[in-house]
């Protein structure tokens, strides 16, 4: 079992989703309990994986490799390293938390909803574990289908527009990636001696390809990741999808789906084309910084809480992009931990917006005010999450942002520290928009009488949010629990980049 733990992680939720379809309609409670039990089992599995993972090794561990397509040497190839380990933990944590938190929000077609959620979880884990490009692509696309239905069936007013936009945007990117995958494998054929889409094999030869060809492949891969992240200027699908999705959808979208983009950049763009990434580091950093500042400015202008949180994602993801562009061990480690942080705090922000929406059915900031007195528990926990998102020292956001800024400040790849300096403006702005929102919603006199009778968080909601808060504090106080696991793998990535720079630049 321990040898096949990765397959279990992927297929347990997918296979166990099928019984849901045979439950009697109307047995909502049973369905929910069943789903949450499955996700908790998956979470436990990922904890076992965490303890079984040897942090001193930078290689892929728990590798499973079976030939899938013989004539193309496509493999069912799974493996985990420090980078994917953290993201797996994040994914498996977010799912049970979300399901518990939105326990009563889904009232129609419950069966289908939880079925799709489990499929989504399995394929997300698949994305982070695949080491064969085609397998990766398959999972990558598979995610679209449950997500399409989740937003489309249970979404808000403009859900059709949002789903189509989301679907077409991502599909556009991923098809370019498919071209790049085939092209890469094909170009590598004479170098390896066979056509294969095995990532570990391709990684060895891809750096020796002509730079202009690398550049195109890099762009095709990068575009699809950039859309997913989303990097400015490909971010326009995100606010629509976020705003229209049901709370659970937004949480998963923000917490995990966006990480697919940054994970892809780190694993494939940097892993396969280190040198090209170095060449493009500055433009990427610029896009990242634009994302940070532009996203933050948009946040300030928002009147809708959910939109505000959605745009804050654009801003926060900008930091991670900047971190990757910096390409030093500190910045990439920071970026990685920031991926987790963003998942936790933005996920939690969406949950809070969902809580309040369930009570009042409005997300307009102007409809609220003075809630602190009415719902004190909500107010205090919400404050913690806001502060975590801003990056208050002692909470998780600070660790990530600090490492990113410190790491990219001195990065040899960016040649200039202006990007870092501009990035810090984003932190200031994030304090502005989040605290301002908090002030308008929570503080001051109660102006809207409808808010008088809003009930506070109930036990279920508090329990659901506690794990997130726990990790927010944990990472803020002792990030080493997680950083130590990823250090060796990140170092190896950076070493590869440096080695490529040295070797290849000597050749040219």
């Amino acid at each position: 079992m321990i040898n096949n733990i990765l397959s279990f992680l992927i297929f347990l939720p997918i296979i166990l989703s099928i019984p849901i379809l045979f439950f009697k309609a109307g047995k909502d409670k049973l369905i929910k309990t069943y789903t949450i039990a499955v996700t908790i089992v998956v979470f436990i599995l990922s904890i076992i994986l965490y303890f079984g993972f040897d942090a001193s090794k930078s290689d892929f561990q728990f590798v499973e490799k079976v030939q899938w397509v013989t004539d193309f040497n496509i493999f069912y190839f799974l493996g985990v390293d420090g980078i994917s380990l953290l993201l797996i933990l994040l994914t498996t944590l977010i799912f049970p938390v979300t399901i518990l938190a939105v326990w009563n929000s889904i009232t129609t077609r419950t069966k289908e909803f939880y079925f799709l959620l489990l499929i989504l979880e399995g394929s997300l884990i698949g994305v982070f574990l695949s080491l064969d490009l085609i397998l990766f692509y398959v999972f990558w696309e598979l995610i679209l289908i449950p997500m399409y239905f989740i937003i489309g069936i249970w979404g808000g007013k403009n859900k059709y527009y949002a789903t189509v936009k989301f679907f077409l945007y991502t599909m556009f990117g991923s098809l370019l990636m498919l071209v790049a995958i085939i092209w890469l494998a094909n170009y590598a054929t004479p170098m390896i001696g066979k056509f294969t889409t095995d990532y570990t094999e391709l990684r060895k030869v891809s750096i020796f390809m002509p730079l202009n060809i690398q550049m195109w492949m890099f762009i095709f891969f990068g575009l699809s990741f950039a859309i997913k992240v989303p990097m400015f200027p490909f971010h326009t699908w995100l606010p629509d999808a976020h705003t229209e999705a049901p709370t659970a959808g937004s949480v998963i979208l923000a917490a995990v789906l966006l990480k697919m983009g940054t994970y892809g950049l780190l694993r494939f763009s940097i892993g396969l084309f280190p040198l090209t990434f170095v060449r493009f580091a500055v433009p990427i950093a610029i896009l990242g910084v634009i994302g940070i500042i532009y996203g933050a400015l948009l946040c300030i202008a928002q009147k809708d809480m959910k939109k505000l949180v959605a745009y804050s994602s654009v801003s926060h993801m900008g930091f991670i992009v900047l971190a990757l562009a910096g390409m030093t061990v500190e910045s990439v480690q920071g970026g990685l931990i920031q991926m987790v942080n963003h998942g936790l705090s933005t996920g939690a922000l969406f949950l809070f917006v969902g809580f309040i929406y369930d009570r009042r059915h409005t997300r307009e900031i102007a409809d609220y005010g003075g809630l602190t007195k009415i719902i004190p528990i909500f107010a205090s926990l919400f404050l913690v999450v806001c502060l975590s998102s801003i990056g208050l020292p002692g909470l998780n956001g600070f660790v990530g942002e600090f490492m990113i800024l410190a790491g990219s400040f001195a990065s040899p790849n960016l040649h200039n520290n202006i990007y870092t300096i501009l990035g810090t403006i984003g932190i200031v702005l994030s304090a502005v928009y989040l605290l301002w929102m908090y002030q308008r919603v929570m503080l001051g006199p109660v102006e809207n009488e409808a808010n008088r009778n809003v009930p506070d968080l109930n036990k279920r909601e508090i329990i659901s949010i506690i794990p997130i808060l726990l990790f927010i504090v944990w990472i803020g106080v002792y990030p080493n629990t997680f950083l130590s696991k990823s250090e060796a793998s990140v170092k190896r990535v950076i070493e590869n980049v440096e080695a490529a720079k040295k070797n290849i630049l000597n050749i040219y």
Binding site: V69, T70, D71, F72, R109, I134, Y137, V138, E141, L142, L144, I145, Y148, F149, G152, I153, K159, Y160, T163, V164, F167, L168, M171, F172, L175, L176, L178, V179, I182, W183, N186, W216
Partner: protein, 503 residues
Amino acid sequence: MLTQQILDGLSKFYPETILSVTILVIVFVELFFKKKTRVSGWIAMAGLAAAMLFTFLQVNIPAQTIFFQMVAVDPFSYFFKVLLILSGFLIVLFTFLSDEIRSSEFKTQEYYALLIALTLGGFLMASSVNLLMMYLALELSSLSSYVLAGYFKKSNRSSEAALKYVIYGGVSSGLMLFGISLIYGICGSLDMFAISAYLSANPVNLITLLIAIFLMLAGFGYKISAVPFHFWTPDVYEGSPMPVTALLSVSSKAAGFAMLIRFFLVAFQNAGHPTITTEGLHQYITLPGLHWPEVIAVIAVATMTLGNVVAIWQDNLKRLLAYSSIAQAGYMLLAFVVVSPQGISAMLTYLAVYLFMNLGAFFAAILISNKYKTENIEEMKGIGYRSPLLCVSMAVFMLSLSGIPMTAGFIGKFYIFSALINNGYIWLAIIGLMNSVVSLYYYIKILKNMFLIRPQGDTGAVSFGAGYSVLLLALAIPTIVLGIFFGPLTKFAEYSVQIFGLK
């Protein structure tokens, strides 16, 4: 000696002979039934089954030509025969299950005979190695499809469809005949191998040859509904009875592709000298100066772009599927640009996959029109909740047609684009993939109406008989399974690339 040769040919011609006999038997048996009957349908199925059996017996016959170089018996034609029989079989079942045909007041007598005739025509199209034979085969399949398209005589739409089909078909086959005569004029033979031998040995006027190729393409393009010979497609698909539409979109198209591939590869390649490249692959060589792959590339791009872009605006499911099938032809033509065994086997793989997903989509459309009496997509709101099995299967077919992974359509596209990229046609691959994005828009529009919008008015569940469900699953399950285990299919396609004379 001659008799010996004819008898020998006959012994390798059983499938076709059986189909011919089936036609006669159906016509004869129908004389005894005054009312509508399914008997002829069962006879048609029996005939197809027998033909299938004898086709299977041909699997190990060495590739050769029979009847004095008129038709070839080779793995390539074998592949298409299997495909055509499978499709014919499914269409007979569709006909049984279609309320549209059941409720029409016409007797079914000619229907099944014509269906078998179309299949026979397809058989011959796939195996002809002589232009005369090819033309006859084309006419056989066209004539039967004209009548099938106009099968509802009292429906204006159906009659209009038949008339349009006849006129376009007549013009295209006339152009093709002119092309054949030009080629005969240049090479002095109708035999594809003789043409190839003549072309590789003698200098010819390439402009004349190119004109001839264009004219031939009119015939092929009309069969596979490639731009600019596609104008009939939407109207005919919309007006014909649904099972006939399904038949035209798969059998006719597959046979057209078979003919196209064989004609170009055998007649316009240095057939005698296939060279071997460094990777150990056989490479077909084009005549120097004759840029027909480029012509095909332009047609392919135009076909898929037009099909996809126009499909976006369609509200009628049949018209939408018509444009989608135009676009699908474009993808398949893309692979032909490569002119290598890899490209051809990708085409064959795609065709096999297309059989399941497209027939599936049409069958789902038949069931929708049976139960909901509509072909309009806007009127299909929320039916996903009323008949889940039907609509989930439809979703599978739609996703497969758009090429989402884990469906057979993805494998088809994957092989096509691999072939393109492998041969350096990266931009062509990108255009093709961008087209897939466009196509996704209208495929998910159907899903949107089925699943994302709540049903209005009547919301009761609408279920089907077991037979319908079984057939639906028989199409949906291969569409998914072939997306995961496709080894045997691609092996079969690779094996079938052996065209007689070209290995």
